[in-house]
């Protein structure tokens, strides 16, 4: 089993243009992801965002936008699980997050493939740190968002 990458595929009952906006528009991305981003996504740009997840809303993340291909592909780099505000993660390796969009059902639906890779370059002790994190915050936020969009 690879310890370097994860891959998820999700089928959405929405046209690709709608899904693309939810991913490539920083404001919409932040709404479902759970962060408030400062500024728009553009290739080569670094966009900072503050998490809106309870208990983690003191944390800021940086998305280094890599590639944007309208309605097809969006990718960025970031520091995964950068959960300690006292640590400067900037000199550490990043992981690459990629979103691939595919039209299905004659345009009525969209398949999104999410890949995050590069974990083997993240120091082992950093990965171990993730287990100090209390996950209740994430679960709580997911519930809140489900209520918001319902």
């Amino acid at each position: 089993m690879s310890t370097d990458r994860i891959e998820k595929r999700v089928v959405l009952r929405a046209p690709r243009s709608r899904v693309w906006r939810a991913i490539a528009d920083a404001k919409e991305f932040g709404t479902w992801f759970g962060m408030k981003l400062e500024g728009a996504f553009a290739a080569g740009r670094t966009v900072r965002g503050r998490l809106t997840i309870p208990n983690y809303d003191h944390l800021t993340l940086e998305l280094q936008i890599e590639r944007i291909e309208a309605e097809h592909f969006f990718s960025y780099r970031w520091h995964p699980y950068a959960i300690d505000p006292k640590v400067d993660y900037s000199s550490e390796p990043t992981t690459l997050v990629e979103f691939r969009l595919e039209e299905i059902d004659g345009g009525k639906g969209t398949a999104v493939t999410i890949v995050e890779s590069g974990f083997d370059r993240i120091p082992l002790a950093r990965r171990a740190e993730a287990f100090r994190m209390n996950d209740a915050g994430w679960a709580g936020q997911a519930k809140k968002l489900a209520q918001y969009v319902a």
């Binding site: 089993m1 310890t3 994860i6 998820k8 999700v10 959405l12 009952r13 929405a14 046209p15 709608r18 899904v19 939810a22 991913i23 919409e28 709404t31 479902w32 992801f33 759970g34 995964p80 699980y81 969209t110 999104v112 999410i114 995050e116 974990f119 083997d120 120091p123 082992l124 002790a125 950093r126 990965r127 171990a128 740190e129 993730a130 287990f131 100090r132 996950d135 994430w138 679960a139 997911a142 968002l145 489900a146 969009v149 319902a150």
Partner: protein, 116 residues
Amino acid sequence: MSPSRAAASKRPDAAPVFAALGDTLRLGLLGRLSADGPLSIRRLSEGTGVTRQAITRHLEALGRVGLVRDARRGRERVFSLDAKRLEIARQYLDRVAAQWDAAAARLKAFVEVDSR
């Protein structure tokens, strides 16, 4: 079968492993061993501001859950990472994957509400 193969082929209860990691100093020790190991207790206590006795106790706690092992080198005890390191990498990835599952579910709810 080598010990590391045996550890990789079954997935024992990981909870004690992660309980043993719930401490900044232990994570620091693991980080040092991961980058520069094997290391003696003397080297591991340098710059920590903690006594060698305390460092030894932390290392032994990590040893009890199979994260580190020790060996004699002359008069010194040296520590290195053990096979359970793979368990950390796997469990970490499981966590990341679970978060993406949750995020994908939120994305789905977010775009499908407009498209009903």
